[in-house]
């Protein structure tokens, strides 16, 4: 039942979320809501060691939104802006795939568990809001590198 959506990894991250805290030295934050169901997430982005990003979040909402935030915070930890930007694009592409994309586990790691979400249009926003908050906070913080960031800054 709903196995394609609720992968074990998702349920695990929902019940034991990682990365939930605020960030004292944040350069920027972004608060995103999903008005259809009330999911909320705030992501903080700061500068870590050796050009890496520090990312933290707090949120409330459904299992997909909260597990996605948790997986995201683990996945981007210690990575630089260029790598994070590529991860954002890869995750976005997966969510827009309507279930027709074989995600690259080497790139997306645990986040491949969300592949099934792309078949349920009503849930895609749930999976995406933490990633949207991340990108928004990262751009606000000026932690950009990837060429596509510049285009999308409006």
């Amino acid at each position: 039942m709903s196995d394609d959506l609720y992968q074990e990894i998702i349920l695990d991250h929902y019940k034991n979320p990682r990365g939930v805290h605020s960030l004292d030295h944040a350069l920027a934050e972004s608060h995103q809501v999903n008005p259809t169901c009330g999911d909320e997430v705030t992501v903080w982005v700061g500068e870590g060691d050796n050009g890496s990003l520090d990312v933290a979040y707090v949120g409330q909402g459904c299992s997909i939104s909260q597990a996605s935030a948790s997986v995201m915070s683990e996945l981007v930890a210690g990575k630089d802006a260029a790598t994070v930007s590529k991860l954002e694009d890869a995750f976005m592409e997966l969510m827009q795939s309507k279930g027709n994309l074989q995600p690259d586990e080497d790139v997306l790691e645990d986040a491949i568990a969300f592949a099934g979400v792309s078949k349920y249009p009503a849930r895609i926003k749930c999976a995406l809001i933490s990633w949207m908050a991340l990108k928004d906070a990262r751009i606000k913080a000026g932690l950009t590198d990837h060429a596509s960031d510049i285009d999308e800054e409006n």
């Binding site: 039942m1 019940k15 034991n16 169901c37 009330g38 409330q60 909402g61 459904c62 299992s63």
Partner: protein, 429 residues
Amino acid sequence: MALNVDEIRSDFPILKRDVRGVPLVYLDSGATSQKPSVVLDAERAFYETSNAAVHRGAHALAEEATDAYESAREVIAGFVGASSDEIVFTKNATEAINLVAYAFSNATDKHRQGIEVDPRFVLRPGDNIVVTEMEHHANLIPWQEVCAKTGATLKWFGITADGRLDMESNPIDQNTKIVSVVHQSNILGTINPIEDIMRMAHSAGALGFVDMCQSVPHMPVDVHATGADFAAWSGHKMLGPTGIGLLWGKSELLNAMPPFLSGGSMIEMVNMDHSTYAPAPQRFEAGVPMVAQAVALATAVGYLEQIGMDNVAEHEHELTEYLLNRLQELPGVHIIGPPNAIDRGSAVSFVVDGMHPHDVGHIMDSRGVAVRVGHHCAWPTCRRFDVPATTRITPYLYNSRADMDAAVEAIVAAQEFFGVLPESEKVGL
């Protein structure tokens, strides 16, 4: 008289379909109802035999179409004890509420420019508008907008812990110009004492509006008997098509209001620099209206009348009572709204410990059970109960006890899947 649900169901083609490989159990009629074949046939028949623009032209089809449109108005008016000149067709209930809200802001604008308008629609800083904390956004935001434009203040009745209006919090006073209240809450299911509230409004010299979106489709309603001055509801929630809503207003008031949308069909005399307007309801029906939808909605009304609204209400009452009892037997499930079926309609909202409503709804859907999840366009009501959202079951005349059982089983399955049944291991949220 008990409804013959099997027979009724056979009139609704969509109820025969599967979803996600299992039979559909449709329990989202509060959002929109399904349509019987007669309604679909009526719309098609209109296009096949009498289609023309109404109130324009003198050819045979134009006459037939106008006749069909105006007859539909009469049927729909009769259904709620109104006369046809009191019924305005709009695109939905939201537009009907906006129509009256805009009468206030437009009259206030004109008054400020020295144009003579009916003083009952003029708002000044210090005046107030009263709603409740259980309004659908459709009966909240338009009044917020009116307040922002006119300087009037928005006030509201609060809600008690068991989902009733808190009459102690009554904010109606001598400065109240309009009181707008939902008849049956779409999220809590509460049926409000609108006759009392309309009486309070009138004693304070205010006008009274009732949002009947969740009452007219589900119970017998006589708009005059409620004591209201205005009411709004939607065709698509009462077996009719989308694209048609209703405003009922006392004739004298409708004729005292400035127009909302303007253009063709709503005029009396037109000059290059000024115009005069037709009396209501034409004044509020600018442009070519939704004729086929009106015809189909009149057919839906006929279908409901044949079954009898008393019978529909009684059937829903039985289902609601049964469902409330079954839900209250489930550990970890909490009803948001009145826990008993007294003065209560069929909209039943609940939350499940350890699970977000979206997840509950998703797993119910995987078993074919279609329910609504979210804030149901009543976000402040969710906030009042400190929940981000709820899962909502809204049965209608085509639902059976078996559908209630299917919903309850689906909820238990969701709890098992998420491992949140209270007996099982505790989950930190």
